[in-house]
């Protein structure tokens, strides 16, 4: 018990890198596409924490090992898809990403359950899902 406690206190001193950035880059998805306001708000709220260079951290990110867990998620999320780098993707890659976005949202695989359980506002309603999917489908057609 004591060992656990000491360990828990000990890991609080390990730093993690924070994923934060003040400005929206010129190549961001929202900047280069003409995204309807409602869709923009939904995507920013539900996706940008892990799929952009700016995470709105919750208070408990100050506690280890939560911070490590989140850091890892954000890193993986950005590798997979970073909305901030959208215009830098080739059309081929955009096409693949749009296909995956649509299929992941259709199948309720994104946003992750472990994320929406603590971020109630990120959970997508059926209406929001439809809006995003129809917008992304159109974008894919126009590539």
């Amino acid at each position: 018990m004591l060992v656990l406690l000491v360990g828990f206190v000990g890991i609080q001193f390990f730093p993690t890198s924070r994923n934060q950035s003040e400005t929206l880059p010129k190549i961001d998805f929202m900047v280069v596409n003409n995204v309807p306001k409602q869709v923009e708000i939904t995507i920013t709220t539900s996706c940008y924490d892990c799929h952009s260079n700016n995470t709105e951290y919750p208070w408990y990110n100050k506690v280890q090992p939560v911070a490590w867990f989140l850091e890892d998620h954000v890193k993986q999320g950005k590798e997979e898809l970073n909305f901030n780098e959208w215009a830098d993707y080739s059309s081929r890659r955009k096409n693949s990403k749009l296909k995956s976005i649509i299929s992941q949202i259709e199948d309720d695989e994104m946003p992750l359950f472990s994320y929406t359980i603590v971020h109630g506002d990120a959970k997508l309603s059926e209406g929001q899902k439809k809006e995003i999917i129809s917008y992304m489908t159109q974008l894919k057609k126009d590539l």
Partner: protein
């Protein structure tokens, strides 16, 4: 969600084991091994003498680069035909390293750019295939097949290939794949609809 996919995957594998269907095609031309790998990394482009049975000087050099990829793609395709998630994952992993090692130096600059885009995209699909349940593997295989078709259009290939099309997959939007045999064996549905599809085009 995931659990249902996994269990359908297991079911499918069990079914295949029972019926013991196996795909014989494409096995014969698989003479690729790790030897080829190191060949490529070692700058094969400068070593004419290192060329193997392909013979054909310049074009032979280019196509030999894609031939290993094609062989491993066919392995992946056959695994999906056989509803074998594990074998597909393994073949996907091998393709990831093929793409990593793919040397575009002998191509013109426009072709290089196009190849770079294709490889970057295809590699991600191969990565996903290496770590996903079979339903997802097939979704990624759809786009990976498109990438392979475009890649071969640039690199050429020594293999005789058939470009097949299944009109039902993808909510009836259809999906393509490449095969080394004329007979249709559907990688998108496996045993469920083995002969669904038709030959769109013959390559070579």
């Amino acid at each position: 969600m995931k659990r249902t996919k996994v269990s359908t995957g297991i079911l499918a594998i069990a079914l295949v084991t029972l019926t013991a269907t196996s795909c014989k095609d494409a096995k014969k031309e698989h003479d690729n091994g790790d030897g080829h790998h190191s060949d490529m990394e070692g700058g094969e482009g400068h070593d004419e003498a290192g060329m193997d049975s392909n013979g054909m000087m310049d074009s032979g050099q280019k196509t030999s680069k894609s031939d290993m990829l094609v062989a491993n793609y066919l392995d992946l395709k056959n695994a999906l035909v056989a509803d074998d998630e594990n074998a597909a994952a393994k073949a996907g992993g091998i393709m990831v390293s093929d793409f990593n090692n793919f040397d575009t130096a002998s191509f013109g600059s426009d072709e290089q750019q196009e190849l770079k885009d294709i490889i970057e995209d295809a590699k991600e699909h191969a990565e996903h295939i290496s770590e996903s349940p079979i339903g997802h593997q097939r979704e990624h295989f759809d786009v990976l097949s498109k990438d392979m078709i475009d890649l071969i259009a640039i690199t050429g290939t020594e293999e005789k290939l058939y470009q097949d099309f299944c009109p039902m997959y993808n909510d009836n939007k259809g999906a393509q794949w490449l095969s080394a045999t004329k007979e249709i064996k559907n990688p998108y549905y496996g045993a469920k609809m083995m002969s669904c599809g038709s030959v769109q085009k013959e390559i070579n």
